[in-house]
Amino acid sequence: MNEATTPFHSKWYRERTSTYWWMSSWPYFLFIVREVSSVFVAWTVVFLLKLVNGVSHGADWYQAFLHWASQPWVIALNVASLLFVLFHAVTWFNLAPAALVVNVGGRRVPGALIVGGNYGAWVAASALIAWALLGS
């Protein structure tokens, strides 16, 4: 390998980009917010697995989980996570037509239809989850 290069950086002169480049404009900032939403997705999984662990150990452990989940810091983290996860969902669905090119009868399905289908599926999935958890 050429000593003057590394896999990702050529060593010739280039102007250094600030570490805070994403704070210089609103779209850049939203881009980074969207990327950071993944951390809250991961936290939500940890939270759900704690619930599953509680329930699988019996009613007492489930009560202990509910007690743990009602601490202020856990609620605050979950409220923040909900905002990030919602931001992830909305940006994900709105981008879907860019990643999903569907052709029917030789004509491309319009993006609005794909976005609409995603939101429809989201409503259905959320209703199913609400029913599973709370329905009688």
Partner: protein, 115 residues
């Protein structure tokens, strides 16, 4: 020069996880993480949740949601560190921590839900 990479696989899992997380996590978190602890609605009964988790389809679905969401995190967070904080030169450690963490979390999910 052509180089074969695992990037398409990582991206596929990232994408699958993105869909799973977007479809299921807002409702789950709103109900279980916010509405119940704040007392807006009564907590699901233990019997209800035990009944749900006794169903193999529910367990498998929940495992898929957890594992793909974690791989989604790994991929996206890796690039956040690369680009947002310009840490691309640390790629070996970052890859290990991100994908290793996701695989470890998926193993915990498999232990809790599939065994």
């Amino acid at each position: 020069m052509s180089t074969r990479t695992n990037e398409p696989l990582a991206w596929l899992l990232f994408s699958a996880g993105g869909v799973m997380a977007a479809m299921t996590l807002p409702a789950l978190l709103l109900i279980l993480g916010v509405a119940v602890p704040l007392g807006w609605i009564a907590a699901p009964t233990y019997e209800r949740l035990a009944w749900l988790l006794a169903n193999p389809i529910v367990r498998l679905a929940l495992f898929v949601v957890c594992a793909t969401s974690l791989l989604h995190w790994a991929h996206r967070f890796r690039y956040t560190l690369y680009d947002g904080l310009q840490l691309k030169h640390l790629h070996e450690g970052i890859n290990f921590a991100c994908y290793g963490g996701a695989i470890l979390g998926s193993a915990v999910a498999a232990y809790l839900l599939l065994l």
